[in-house]
Subunit: 365 residues, 2 copies
């Protein structure tokens, strides 16, 4: 394995759209939500273990998840677990990891990946990542993995390429210059995106060499660059935690998409050669899970469904759950909290969780 190849796994999300299964105290990435026997974080680790030397894999998460990470990934060295003292979105998270890696290896070539996604084909995944790493090793480019869209999804960001020279540009299957980065669109816009055949979904998996990332930070997020550059002699020393705790509160909270990818001129996309989902919602879990003959996805040993179709039923702690006569619903239970909602309304779960938090407090989210 190329010892310049690194991986940064971002594991700081709180997965509120998977409530009540996903909780602040144990979010989605720490759950075996696909029922494979490994949590999503463990699966992400397993995948990257085949791409980078294990000592080159870093996990960034919140301080409160330290024990969960240690428990789920006992072989990861303490220095490879980066703990953010507060949530500051992805740009500071990525800066922390990349600047720290640069202090060790200025030739580092880095994949940055969420920890809670579904990847359908390991071979295709490795092929895509390796092709990307090969490209960024010798190019000053910010590379992102694009997913060919299959529906006008409003929950994802989109990546537009220049399709003027090609009848079906998404099929070219090669690394291509990005024209625009677009945030989650409204439905009408998403439909247009699908029709133009110039738009990939943004997977949130990025590849770059550390010098390119730092240059982009200097150009587009100079405040973040100044804060994290100041640590170059402190990373990987006993003073790192203190330093990070100090600068994080001063840090802008901004995503890498907004802060860098939308502004940088050197952004490229590589089409994914694997099925993918961000598993952002119960619906996307449904799409990517094995269904019973009635089209139900059922998780939980003591769940019995009758006259029930197209449902996702998840029971974690209930003694018994009997569901009769439901069609296209989410029925989720965990820790004595029960949610019943039509699948089509899953986007409102985030708001429901906010309401719960405001009205009942943190014990419920």
């Amino acid at each position: 394995m190329n010892t310049n190849n690194y991986c940064v796994i971002m594991a700081g999300g709180i997965g509120s759209r998977f409530w009540p299964r996903s909780r602040t105290a144990c979010p989605k990435q720490f759950l075996d939500i696909l029922g494979t026997g490994r949590t999503l974080l463990q699966q992400t680790w397993d995948r990257f273990s085949q791409i980078c030397p294990k000592k080159n894999i870093y996990i960034v998460s919140g301080t409160q998840y330290k024990d969960l990470i240690k428990q789920q990934l006992p072989e990861v060295a303490e220095n490879n677990v980066l703990l953010e003292p507060m949530r500051r979105n992805t740009a500071p998270c990525i800066a922390y990891a990349c600047y720290k890696i640069m202090a060790r290896n200025p030739l580092a070539n880095i994949v940055v990946s969420p920890s809670d996604h579904y990847i359908g084909d390991l071979t295709g995944f490795i092929k895509t990542i390796e092709k990307g790493l090969e490209f960024t090793a010798t190019n000053n480019s910010l590379l992102t993995i694009g997913i060919k869209p299959t529906r006008p999804e409003t929950g994802y960001g989109y990546i537009q390429i220049d399709g003027s020279n090609n009848e079906n540009p998404l099929e070219i299957n090669q690394i291509t210059k990005v024209k625009t980065f677009t945030e989650k669109p409204i439905l009408e816009m998403a439909k247009t995106f699908l029709e133009t055949k110039e738009f990939f979904w943004n997977s949130g998996i990025f590849i770059w060499n550390v010098q390119s990332l730092v240059m982009a930070m200097k150009a587009h997020q100079p405040d973040i660059d100044i804060l994290f550059s100041a640590g170059k002699d402190i990373y990987n020393t006993p003073k790192e935690t203190e330093f990070i705790n100090k600068i994080y509160s001063e840090c802008t909270s901004i995503s890498i998409d907004n802060g860098i990818m939308e502004c940088a001129p050197n952004v490229y996309v590589i089409p994914a050669q694997f099925p993918w989902s961000d598993l952002g919602t119960w619906g996307s879990l449904y799409e990517n899970s094995t269904k019973d003959i009635n089209g139900n996805v059922i998780a939980g040993t003591k769940v019995f469904a009758e006259n029930t179709n197209g449902c996702i039923i998840s029971s974690s702690d209930a003694k018994l759950m009997i569901v009769n006569g439901l069609k296209d619903y989410i029925v989720a239970e965990a820790d004595g909290m029960i949610l019943i909602i039509p699948k089509k309304d899953e986007q409102s779960i985030k708001n429901i969780v906010n309401e719960v938090k405001i009205n009942l407090g943190n014990d419920y989210v």
Copy 2:
């Protein structure tokens, strides 16, 4: 109060159609299922306390409910709590109580009542019962309280009177001779019953003087009579429990309806002057409970329903229940067991509970 008036409250049912709220370990009659602050048993006791001297009120139930009864009705003397060692349906239960009361007072005039019904108007109830007691005090009759039916209910038994001399016989509002007793009919038959205007619902509340009951037992259930007559010098002595435990296993299991009321020639009906429901199902609880503006009956403090209409939502032990987008469903939780079923399918709950018992064991029912 007339010291010859007695009441026997039957509290041995297991209320399986209210599962999971009603459990074998704590059936419906021991629950405050209407949210009044008193359990159904306590409410039954409260009602009869206004009709008979309290020392004349007897409770018959299973041995396993001894503590629950003591807890809920601390003022009831131990000798007034009759514990059946096994379930033998209502005829032996009633025989036990009546033969025991006769040993104390051969002039006893007795109301026998279930413990788990809804009675909508206390004044009307007292009026009806007192009128009935007055009648049975001087007549060798078996009197039953009839309810004017409002729908072709298939969950109740029916009582036919002779309507040949009256255009609308159910409106006569006087004690009338019964022509037939009919068990739970199929829907078509129930519809016919409703149209003929000759049929009351059988409330399961009976009134008779003890001599009439004993004569009816001798005539129609001689085996039961022999068993319980043998105890006349044992009732109300320390040997009663041993005696009862011995004879119960020899006892036929038969209902008072099948065993006596359907055969006896001296059966009369008194129309109820009060709203009534047997609260036999979630649906009947729904009918008799206060609804919110969306027509939902919600029991449980941490239940939130949105876009939800016509539902009955009962949460006993859940930390939180959020229901979105349901119409005409039963959603019931208790002790970590959850049932979701359309209201129209509530008759299948009994079968579901049987399945649960067979497949998962007694801990679940």
